[in-house]
């Protein structure tokens, strides 16, 4: 029992509400937002430390003192507090990048308020232990994302956000349908209780149907293979900072829920459900990277890279072993860092050259060496070149896959990695190599430094996570063991 778990979503909610009143005062708004961002990050780091110190490696809160299966529980196990830490980090760097890049018109229309409401929903979704509560936090996240994605009101933004909203509303309706079916079959919506009852039921047919409904819901939100079609265009419209925030957080919430439900509740027939996930993982990787290779717009390429990386992240769930899941968790952590860094850098590149088309850019390495090398490190980390963090995530996934005899998916993952390398190097060669062409340079090298400031900690972090893979892996293997042994989770919540 610990009230500590409330703060990660209570703090951003209050800050977001307060910021509504200061929407027209830019300086004050930034001071409040910046302070709250730092406080949230420090608190999340503290929370990870607390959870790691406890004997059970998790803390729970029964809200309103209602005993577990009846009231809502908040659960901070190793995976969820790690996710909260990462989302707070992403929120913090996005804030500082937004201070430098976001247009003051957008600030005036409650950008920071909805930014914090989004963090409220994301952190809440990571911490809740109740399926319906998860739905509510999903909706909090989504409604803030609807506002952020349409904020600015450009023609393309309005058009694409309409499709984004409709897609998500359909998925949310099916979330309710799935929750209703689960309630009818098991009589509970508490995730631990669900895991408990599902294990003792012999209605595998019904449960498989429900599992597929949830796979559809979380797959649509996490951009899995046939359901990612809404993502490339709708993420293209808004400014780089919002795309970075969405690319790093929104798909991860879907993937986190997928991992949570399919390790805790729908874990009875992995040969059926998890082989479908494995198939989707492979197809997501392939189609994502093909999309990236077919585009010439730099932002579009990175957006398709989101989809391709989603495949790697759920591959560990599909393989369903401790080492593969540890790889997945590590990969999600790594991807949040690198994806944000890449979107920031791409935002700066577009500002510098005034175009998004890589065929029209050339020779930026001569004029902007710092930008070039930071991009290079981030791109190599995304692809998975050894000393950087991406390598260790893929390494654990491949080893986990080989251990379980899933040779096909391992082969697909390795080939897709090569194609990823090709697609990132294609950007690097087109944009940074070659002679300087005549496109006017809007920002000089010096002028990009303040914009690059939020990128540098992320790059340092991806190097540190790679060099310090040993302790990092101790943590994620602990998290994966908790996921693979849901009895522990159930026992702590329902003693």
């Amino acid at each position: 029992m610990s009230n500590l778990l409330v703060i990660p979503f209570l703090l951003p909610m209050l800050v977001g509400a307060v910021l509504i009143f200061f929407a027209k005062q830019h300086r004050l708004q930034r001071i409040i937002a910046g302070t709250a961002g730092i406080a949230l990050f420090v608190y999340a780091a503290f929370l990870v430390y607390i959870v790691y110190q406890t004997k059970e490696k998790m803390i729970i809160l029964e809200v309103g003192n209602w005993d577990a299966p009846f009231g809502i529980v908040l659960v901070g196990d190793m995976l969820s507090v790690l996710m909260v830490l990462m989302s707070s980090l992403v929120g913090l760097v996005c804030l500082f990048y937004a201070f430098k890049t976001i247009h003051s018109e957008r600030e005036k229309y409650y950008f920071y308020s909805f930014f914090f409401f989004l963090l409220t929903g994301v952190n809440g979704a990571f911490l809740t232990g109740d399926l319906f509560n998860l739905f509510v936090f999903f909706e909090v996240t989504l409604i803030s994302s609807y506002v952020l994605i349409a904020n600015g009101g450009k023609k393309i933004q309005l058009r694409e956000s309409f499709k984004y909203v409709v897609m998500n509303m359909v998925a949310s309706a099916f979330f309710l349908v799935g929750a209703a079916y689960l309630y009818a079959t098991t009589g509970t919506l508490n995730m631990a209780d669900l895991g408990n009852r599902v294990a003792t039921m012999d209605q595998q047919g019904v449960l498989n149907v429900i599992a597929i409904i949830f796979l559809f819901v979380f797959g649509a939100k996490g951009a899995l293979f046939p359901l990612y079609f809404w993502l490339p265009k709708s993420y293209y419209g808004p400014p780089a900072v919002i795309t970075a925030l969405f690319g790093a957080l929104l798909t991860k919430v879907g993937l986190y829920s997928l991992i949570r439900t399919f390790t805790l509740i729908f874990n009875q027939q992995p040969q059926f459900t998890h082989s479908i996930i494995l198939l989707l993982a492979g197809l997501t990787m392939i189609f994502g990277v093909f999309g990236a290779l077919s585009k010439f717009d730099i932002k579009q390429i990175i957006i398709y890279q989101i989809i391709s990386q989603v495949g790697f992240m759920i591959m560990g769930l599909g393989v369903f072993s401790t080492s593969a899941l540890a790889g997945s968790v590590y990969y999600i952590t790594h991807d949040m860092i690198v994806k944000v860094a890449l979107f920031f850098i791409v935002g700066i590149i577009i500002r510098v050259t005034g175009t998004g088309d890589i065929r029209k850019m050339s020779g930026l390495l001569k004029t902007h060496p710092m930008l070039g090398w930071l991009f290079f490190i981030a791109a190599m980390s995304l692809v998975g070149i050894p000393p950087l963090s991406g390598f260790f995530g893929k390494f654990a996934l491949v080893v986990g896959g080989l251990d379980q005899g899933q040779y096909l998916i391992v082969a697909v993952a390795l080939i897709v990695s090569l194609l990823n390398l090709f697609s990132m190097l294609r950007i690097f060669m087109n944009v940074f190599w070659g002679e300087k062409n005549s496109t006017t340079v809007a920002l000089t090298n010096k002028q990009t430094f303040p914009l690059l400031r939020p990128v540098i900690p992320l790059i340092v972090l991806t190097i540190a996570l790679g060099l310090g893979a040993e302790p990092a892996f101790q943590y994620v293997i602990g998290a994966a063991e908790q996921l693979m042994n849901p009895e522990h989770y159930i026992n702590v919540i329902l003693p």
Partner: protein, 112 residues
């Protein structure tokens, strides 16, 4: 009674699907509204329709309706209400900006 409601839910879902696949913006919005209605009704039905009994009458009550689904749909209705309001505004703004409500014409290219 449950069977009848189940048929009704099916009708709502099929009409919603039809509307979601049409070309007009407003019909798509109505489609999402009907879809969430169907989902809410489903939650209510899945809890079992205890006709004519109150949710809570104390511990010795001989029969009662399950209060949890009612609490759930209350939350879900409020959420879908807010979402629909936002979607309607978005639809109006999209229509104003593009001067059309035909989704075929809103297909769009990126380089504009």
């Amino acid at each position: 009674m449950e069977i009848l409601i189940a048929v009704l839910i099916g009708v709502l879902f099929s009409v919603a699907t039809y509307l979601l696949l049409t070309k007009s913006l407003l019909r798509v919005v109505l489609g999402t509204v009907l879809l969430s209605h169907g989902a809410h009704l489903l939650i209510l039905t899945m809890g079992g329709l205890g006709l004519g009994s109150a949710p809570l009458l104390g511990e010795e009550a001989s029969k009662y309706s399950d209060p949890l689904p009612q609490a759930l749909i209350l939350t879900a209705i409020v959420i879908s209400f807010g979402m629909t309001a936002l979607l309607l505004v978005l639809t109006y703004r999209t229509y104003k900006a593009h001067q059309t409500d035909d989704l075929d014409q809103l297909r769009g290219r990126l380089d504009e």
